[in-house]
């Protein structure tokens, strides 16, 4: 008799599980699709919705680049090429080449970690398609520039100060031994709220 009961049991299980499955799929007719209709049918550009830590295409703020070559040394695939020489006359560090081969870059974030000023940093830009390998090279130095020298106190140059602030804010995201980003951010937020109520921080 077990054969017959198995037979009936099989039919019963099949029908009941399909019933459940159909109920679940039916409920999906009334749920909102999760698709993001990239790139055109979006309220906000994707780039603007990405989190701050997003590792997109690299960008260099040459104004605050110290020419320390830390990023070039740490890059595991050598996609950064920097030429920095001491000017024999003025004894200043002169940056004559700063190229990043974006085609080779693997967006690991190791280069922006040791940067003392946050000059080299990832943006939220990720659309990098192009027609040739050559056009994927980001050349940051047009004419040789003098490398930035960190000052002892706060930056006084009005042109450089906002860039430097941004750079240091970027660096703050990294885990510096001894820091506690979450608690620090909460404290900062509280401080900002008490200092300037109503103003978005």
């Amino acid at each position: 008799m077990s054969g017959v009961s198995d037979y009936v049991q099989n039919i019963k299980e099949t029908v009941s599980t399909i019933f459940e499955g159909m109920a679940i799929t039916a409920s999906h007719f009334m749920r909102k699709p999760y698709t993001v209709q990239y790139p055109d049918r979006m309220a906000v550009r994707v780039q603007d919705t990405l989190p701050f830590r997003y590792r997109g295409i690299l960008e260099v703020d040459l104004e605050i680049c110290t020419g320390c070559l830390a990023c070039e040394r740490l890059c595991p695939i050598d996609c950064i090429t920097i030429v920095a020489d001491k000017d024999p006359v003025t004894k200043q560090l002169l940056l004559s080449q700063f190229d990043i081969d974006i085609a080779k870059c693997m967006y690991c974030g190791l280069c922006s970690e040791p940067c003392p000023t946050g000059s080299i940093h990832h943006t939220t830009e990720f659309e990098g398609a192009d027609y040739s390998l050559e056009s994927l090279i980001r050349r940051f130095v047009k004419d040789p520039v003098i490398a930035y020298k960190p000052k002892k106190g706060p930056e006084t140059d009005q042109r450089i100060a906002p860039i430097l602030n941004r750079g240091m804010a970027y660096l703050d995201q990294w885990a510096i031994p001894g820091s506690d980003a979450e608690a620090k951010a909460a404290a900062d937020k509280a401080a900002a709220e008490t200092a300037a109520p109503g103003e978005p921080s």
Binding site: T81, D99, D101, A103, S132, E134, L136, I137, R139
Partner: protein, 169 residues
């Protein structure tokens, strides 16, 4: 059992076929006579005290003057681990296969053969596994020089930075 105890037990059993028991490099290991590997393997698997039922890892290391094959044994019943090594000459390194003791050795030995060129005697299927079958040389050897091309496919990427600079001029 602690790793050193295991190695001592094996040493007591096999005496001078265990060439060296070392404890200086984090994981203690024993260097054994390559000819005794299957015998020692069988013993470790069947010994009621050891019961090494799993060959958890087998890898090869090229030390420039010799090649080592490293065996990591593990026992699921007794939850202990042991490391054995055999030292082989760099020219035509060859050691007996453990495939008949642990099935998992099959693929791991093929990988060592493929990347380091160690021949495992008695292995049922000694073919290259990761590299193409017509590949020359053993890539994980320290003196391996990558060929510039493979069947007309270049293995070198010309730096576009140089290309860009030459174009400018």
């Amino acid at each position: 059992m602690e790793p050193l105890q295991i190695l001592e037990r094996v040493k007591n059993q096999f005496g001078d076929r265990i060439l060296e028991v070392a404890d200086r490099k984090l994981d203690p290991f024993a260097v054994i006579d390559p000819k005794a590997i299957v015998e020692i393997g069988r013993f470790m698997k069947n010994d009621p005290e050891l019961q090494m039922d799993c060959l958890s890892n087998e890898s090869g290391v090229d030390y420039k003057d010799h090649i080592e094959v490293v065996y990591h044994f593990f026992s699921y019943q007794r939850r202990h681990t042991a490391v054995l090594k055999v030292k082989l000459p760099r020219d035509n390194p060859s050691v007996e296969t453990l495939e008949n003791v642990w099935k998992s050795a099959n693929w791991m030995e093929r990988e060592i053969f493929d990347l380091l060129g160690v021949n495992f005697e008695g292995h049922s299927d000694m073919r290259r596994i990761l590299m193409p079958e017509d590949w020359q040389g053993y890539p994980l050897r320290k003196d391996f020089v990558e060929p510039l091309e493979y069947h007309g496919i270049s293995t070198v990427r010309e730096s576009p930075i140089i290309r860009l600079d030459t174009k400018k001029k």
